[in-house]
Amino acid sequence: MMYDWLNNLTGSPILAMFIVSLLPLFVFILPFALFAVLMERKVSAHMQDRLGPMRTGYHGILQTIADIIKLLQKEDLVPTATDKTLFNFAPLLVFIGSYAAFAAIPFSGFFIGSKIDLGIIFIVGVTGLVVAGILMAGWASNNKYSLLGAMRSAAQIISYEIPTLLIILTIIMITGTLSLYDLSEMQTPYFWNWMILGGPAVGLQKILLIPLMIMGCLIIYTSTLAEVNRTPFDIPEAESELVSGYHTEYSGMKFAMFFLAEYANMFAVSAIVAVLFFGGYQSPFGYLGNLLGLKWLIPIEQFSWFTAKGLFFVFVQMWLRWTLPRFRVDQLMAFCWKYLIPFSFVILLLVGLITLI
C-alpha cells in the first residue's frame, strides 16, 4: 500500500522500494531500540528501588545515545583464534533475521512494508535465520562458553517454535487467512472482535472459543519469550553461568548488532501477539478520525494503537525479566515438550471441532 503510494508519488519503482524497505529501520527499529534500552533500564531500576540513569539529559534520556556513541568508538576486535568469516557474518545474519520480520508487520492499514498473503509464515521463516546466526557466532568464537550458549540457544529456539506454530495454526483455522493485514482487518471494529475474545465468530462458537483463545495467547506469549531468549528462558546468555553466551567474544558495533537484534526481536514477537490476539492496529473503541470525519487521522491512530500494544507486551517481557529466576536447560526443554506442545495440540483439536459447529 505504502509502496503503491510512493510509486505513484515518485514515479520510480526502485526508489519506492528503497524507501519502503529502509523506512522501518530508520523510522521504527532504531528509535525503538534506543527507547527500549532506556525503558529496560528505567523499568528495572524502578522495580529494584533505584533510579537508573539520571545524569545524561533529563532523567537520563540521552543515556542510550551516549552508549551507542561509545560502542561506535570502540575498536573492532576480532580474537585471533576465531573463524573470521563466520565471526563477522554472524551478527549480520542475526540482525537481518530480526529486521526482515518487520517487512510484514502491519503497523497500520496503510503502513505495511510488504502486504504479502503469507505474512505470518514469512515472519516465522525469517526469524528462523536468527538460529543459524547464533550457532555461527557460538561456533566461530572458538570459546567454550559461546559454544555452550549457542547450542542451548539453537535447541531452545527450535523447540519453542513448535508451540508457537501450533497456536498460529489454530488462528489460521478460525480466520482462514495467513495475511496479517487481513487478520487485523477481521478484528474490527471493537475490542470484542479481537481474537482473544473469540474473534469475528458469533454466538455459541464465540463463547466456546474464548477460554481456548486465552490459553493459546498465554502459550504463544510464553514460547515467544523463549524464542527471543528473555527471562525466565534466557539460558543461552545466562550471565551467571555462561558469562554472555554466544556473544561473549563480541564487542563494539558487532555486539551492538546483537543487542539491536534482541530488542527488535522483542518488539517483533510482541507485535505478532498483538496482531494474532489483540486486534493488531485496530482501535478497541473505534476511531476519532471517523467521528470527526478526518480520514487522514485514521492511519496515525492505528499506528499509535499498534505501537502502544506492542510496547505493552514489551513492558510485560521486562516485568517478567526483573521478577523471575531462570530455568535450567533441561527444565526448559521439559517445559516445552511436556506442557506447551501437548496443550497446543489440544487447543488445535478443540478449535478445529468448534469451527465445525
Partner: protein
C-alpha cells in the same frame, strides 16, 4: 549420585569427548577469584577440581610479625562479609588466653554487632544466590537492607566493611546515642522485607525447581568433611556453637536453632541451605531485640589492657560465624607477638565437600550449589 542419566551417550555409537571447562577466576558467579576446573560430558558434570589461592595474603605469617592488637585489622580482611565476627572470635580467644573479665555491656554490644553482622552476611549470601539463579531484583532488595546495617556500624565505629571495632578486652567506642532507636526501626522495617523476599524468591516456583533436590549434602558426609554452620544445620543436624559451646552472653537469650527439613525436596539440598539462612536472620532479629532491651550500662573500655602480653601457652577458641565454625588457634611464647595464629576457616572446610556435591549435575547447578554453600574467598585463601 546422579540425577541425570549419563548412560545414553556412553552406550551410543557416536564418538563423544569430554570437555574441560575453566570457570573463573574471572567469572561472574564464582563469588570472587575461585577457579573451577569442570570436566563435562555435554552439560553434565563428571568432575570438579577447585583451584584456590588467588587471594592469598599470608594472614597467618603476617600475624606472627604483629603485636596482638595489631592482628585485629587483619582478621577483618579474612571473611570480609563478617568482619565483626572475625574480631569477636579473635578477641574472645585472647581474653581466654589472658583470663580477662569483660564488662557485661561489652558482651551485649558484641552480641548485637555479631548478630547484625550475621544478618548482613546472610543478606549478601541470599541476594547473590538469587542473582546466580537469574533473579536480579532480590539482590538489590537485600543490599538495600544491608545498607542500613552498615549504616548502624558506621555511626558506631566509622567504618562500613572493615571495622577494627572489637578489641581485646572491650570495644573501641561505646554505642552511638541514636544506635538503639535506629536498630529498633531497622528491625521493625526488616521483618516485612523478609516476608517480601520469601514471596519474591524463596517460594517462587522456578526458584524451587532450580534448587530443590540439587546438591544434596547428607548429614554423615557433612560431618565427615567437617562442614559446619548453616550448611550443616541445613543437612538436619542441630549444631550451633552459640548453644553447644557457649560463649559471651548468648545463654541469656531465647532463640531457636533452625534446621533443614527437606520442605521442598531432600534434606540438605540447595533450597534447604538457602532457606536456613532466611530463618537464621529471623532468629538473629530476636536475639538483637532482647539484647537491645536488656543492655546494661557501663564502661566499654575499662578492661582493655594497656599492654597485651599474654602468658606462655596456647588456646583454641571457636565461635559461630555466619558461615560456620570459625576457630582461632593461638600459641603465645610470652612475648608481644603471637608465635602462631592458625585459623580454622569455615568456608575453607566447606569448599572441600563441593566437588562431591556437584558430580552428576549440570553446569547451571554448579552455580546454584556454589552459591548455596556461601563461600567467601578472602577466608578460604586468607
Amino acid at each position: 549420585m546422579s540425577q541425570y542419566s549419563i548412560q545414553n551417550t556412553k552406550d551410543s555409537k557416536l564418538k563423544t569427548e569430554e570437555m574441560v571447562l575453566n570457570m573463573g577466576p574471572q567469572h561472574p558467579s564464582t563469588h570472587g577469584v575461585l577457579r573451577l576446573e569442570l570436566k563435562l560430558d555435554g552439560e553434565i558434570i563428571l568432575d570438579v577440581v577447585p583451584h584456590i589461592g588467588y587471594l592469598h595474603r599470608c594472614f597467618e605469617k603476617h600475624a606472627e610479625a604483629m603485636t596482638y592488637p595489631q592482628v585485629i585489622p587483619y582478621t577483618d580482611r579474612m571473611d570480609y562479609l563478617a568482619s565483626m565476627y572475625n574480631e569477636f572470635g579473635y578477641a574472645l580467644a585472647m581474653e581466654r588466653l589472658m583470663k580477662i573479665e569483660v564488662p557485661e555491656r561489652v558482651e551485649y554490644i558484641r552480641v548485637i554487632m555479631g548478630e547484625f553482622q550475621r544478618i548482613a552476611s546472610h543478606l549478601v549470601a541470599l541476594g547473590t544466590y538469587g542473582a546466580d539463579i537469574g533473579a536480579f531484583t532480590p539482590f538489590l532488595f537485600c543490599f538495600r537492607d544491608r545498607e542500613r546495617i552498615l549504616h548502624l556500624f558506621e555511626i558506631t565505629c566509622g567504618a562500613r566493611l572493615l571495622y577494627n571495632y572489637i578489641w581485646i578486652g572491650g570495644v573501641s567506642h561505646d554505642l552511638h546515642p541514636d544506635f538503639i532507636r535506629l536498630a529498633k526501626e531497622f528491625i521493625k522495617d526488616f521483618r516485612p522485607n523478609l516476608k517480601e523476599l520469601n514471596e519474591l524468591l524463596s517460594y517462587n516456583r522456578i526458584f524451587i525447581e532450580r534448587t530443590a533436590n540439587v546438591g544434596v549434602l547428607p548429614v554423615d558426609t557433612a560431618i565427615n568433611y567437617g562442614v559446619s554452620g548453616p550448611n550443616l544445620r541445613a543437612s538436619g543436624m542441630k549444631w550451633d556453637l552459640r548453644r553447644d559451646d557457649p560463649y559471651s552472653v548468648y545463654h541469656k537469650f531465647d532463640y531457636e536453632i533452625p534446621i533443614g527439613s527437606g520442605e521442598k525436596g531432600k534434606t540438605g539440598d540447595c533450597w534447604d541451605r538457602y532457606f536456613i539462612r532466611v530463618r537464621e536472620m529471623e532468629e538473629s532479629l530476636k536475639i538483637i531485640e532482647q539484647a537491645l532491651d536488656t543492655i546494661p550500662e557501663g564502661d566499654v573500655t575499662s578492661a582493655i589492657p594497656k599492654r597485651v602480653k599474654p602468658p606462655e601457652g596456647q588456646i583454641y577458641t571457636r565461635v559461630e560465624n555466619p558461615r560456620g565454625e570459625l576457630g582461632y588457634f593461638i600459641i603465645s611464647d610470652g612475648s608481644l607477638n603471637p608465635a602462631r595464629v592458625k585459623v580454622r576457616a569455615p568456608s575453607f572446610v566447606t569448599m572441600q565437600v563441593f566437588p562431591e556435591l556437584c558430580k552428576g549435575f549440570m553446569v547451571a547447578d554448579v552455580v546454584a550449589i556454589l552459591g548455596s554453600i556461601d563461600i567467601v574467598l578472602g577466608e578460604i585463601d586468607r
